[in-house]
Symmetry: C2
Subunit: 372 residues, 2 copies
């Protein structure tokens, strides 16, 4: 079913429940976080090199607010230079004049922006240790619930995104613990999805703590600090309004946690890019169907394959694909402004040009051209 | 001029500019902070004893969210048991379904709620040291500006309150540095306003750094970490809408900082209780007139002198008077719901009864009655 041009909905039962997801006055909140699981070599490319990964979520938050980063000199990128999806998110927020809030649930580097502190440490590497103590997961859920309720009072749709490198591996682990068959179904920031490596990490995690089934305990053992925060924000938001989990298969894990905790899901949807929804190395719709048949999955086609910018075309070729709530923020912006995917692409190109190309030129001017 | 029953406006030029301050969809943000200036004996009663003062602002934030405190066993109170104005604020927020945000700009104890971190340390004791480094004041102003802009996008009136013990002394110091004659004009949480002690502290502060006139430098030398945060939030909010500085003479200092920084003041008002506005030991209206003749001062009469609760009647007798944005939050709630002061008083009594009287009974049940 198509809601607006370039937004496609799968799942979600009757047409009525889909039509309910409009956005006249959306608000966007991005949860930034870190998990030492991301430091397992080969799991993520959310950083120019392994040493940079810990800066990624803070730099994303800074980019959203300032249009440039403060904790690192450039924008977060993959080792071969594909830029962070925060470029898309920022373009969407600006187009739709969407208010932005940052929640810090275990970021390793603190961003130079006003961030709502959940008081959490970065998550542990689940292949060798728990992600966090149970009481921290409970606290993050509780804080999220308080925050989500306030945000929902100010808006008709709370869009919740995330920036946490390595998050699909912890998603896989939590989904499996909660009875969702997710092997070979979680997405990746790389075209060549390292499923076997993810499965191996998760097997080691399960070996440490067999039989854990309670949702927040599964998060504490096998997950990451983003999950209880996003689940809590969503749980608080549905008390007053509607919520869009903005992300890919990581948000399926959050949905499973919410379901396990008995949070009503009638006013929850998932919003993502067509690059995740159509990812042949993953199965977002199938994961969501296993958790909640009535939960709509909205996906926007941002026509990035038609872009004149190489760094954006890469998204259509399976690089990066999603993150920092890019898909959900775009959907909310498209709903609010009636922009279609091609118009979004043009606006994203302008943001790309301003923040990435001009920054590169400035850097070159300062340091001289790259040597052959 | 009377806007609504029990809300009186003084100052503010023409009737039109006053009528602009409506509140159909207000949002409330409380900045919590600490200054070692509050530890000067005799300056404040915002705590049951000197050792408790550092918990006051965190406990206020917890009370607003949870209806009880977590970092201390009871609610913040004066040494003789007059309860925190957070009781009033919470009643107003609930009546008007007003969204609540907490900003932590130098709280000494961290509240167990989601709080927007400004990354500041508690302020120094201005009688012996600077309140903070200049770059921290600048950062708090910048973070505030970012936050205020987001909040204003969600609402038609951003109400900014504060909880910082000892704040009228730092207000006096900053007002004087910015050329506002404030001696014997700042208010107090005590009926017997310790003007001479405040003046002596301020004289010692000025002796350390003569001739400081730049607004944020005055804040850094003589102020407290609440001021740049509130001034920044207000500066960001007026970019998109209207703002109410919710408090007494401390907010006159914030207004002076904003004026000094060139922030446009046309969409700024001050909102407080009649207990501050009518305080004969102070002169809020006169202070504001010296800074900006066109800035309205709204004051609500909450009829607490008619209350059946002793702890509330004390407000009308000059104890506590204001704080935690109680007056401004009440005004916004009255504007949104058309409640008058007597209706507010009844709602505040219910909150008092629920949170203070029942808590005391529970405490007595646990510990036995007080011994004669």
């Amino acid at each position: 079913m198509q809601l607006l041009r370039d937004i496609v909905c799968s799942g979600g039962g009757s047409g009525d429940s889909k039509a309910g997801f409009s956005a006249k006055k959306p608000v966007f909140v991005c949860v930034i976080s870190h998990t030492a699981t991301s430091e397992v070599p080969g799991l993520t490319v959310a950083g120019a090199n392994p040493e940079m990964i810990k800066y990624t979520s803070a730099a994303d938050a800074e980019f959203l607010y300032h249009g440039h980063c403060k904790c690192i000199p450039a924008v977060p990128a993959t080792p071969d230079g594909k830029p962070t999806p925060a470029v898309i998110t920022r373009a969407a927020l600006a187009l739709a004049s969407m208010p932005l809030f940052i929640a810090d649930s275990g970021a390793k580097v603190k961003p130079q922006v006003p961030a709502i502190s959940f008081g959490l440490q970065p998550g542990g590497n689940i292949s060798i240790e728990d992600a966090m103590p149970l009481h921290e997961a409970e606290r993050a859920f509780g804080y999220g619930r308080l925050l989500g309720a306030q945000l929902a009072m100010t808006s008709d749709l709370v869009v919740v995104g995330e920036s946490i490198p390595g998050g699909t591996t912890t998603a896989l682990a939590v989904l499996g613990a909660l009875g969702v068959d997710a092997r070979f179904r979680v997405s990746s920031s790389m075209p060549d999805n390292p499923h076997k490596l993810k499965n191996a990490v998760v097997d080691r995690a399960y070996a440490r703590a067999k039989g854990v089934r309670a949702p927040l305990e599964a998060v504490a053992r096998f997950g990451d600090p983003m999950m209880p925060a996003v689940a809590g924000i969503a749980a608080g938001a549905v008390e007053h309004g509607r919520v869009m989990l903005a992300g890919g298969t990581q948000m399926a894990a959050v949905l499973a946690v919410m379901k396990g905790l008995g949070v009503p899901l009638a006013r929850v949807c998932i919003g993502t890019t067509s690059y995740v929804a159509g990812d042949r190395s993953a199965d977002l719709a199938g994961l969501v169907r296993q958790i909640s048949k009535r939960t709509p999955v909205l996906a926007c086609d941002l026509h990035l394959g038609e872009s004149s910018k190489q760094g954006l075309r890469a998204y259509a070729d399976g690089f990066v694909k999603e993150g920092v709530g890019a898909g959900g923020a775009s959907i909310a912006a498209m709903m609010k402004t009636k922009a279609d995917g091609r118009k979004m692409m043009k606006i994203i190109e302008r943001e790309y040009s301003r923040s990435i190309e001009k920054a590169s030129v400035a850097e070159m001017a300062a340091t001289g051209p790259p040597q052959p």
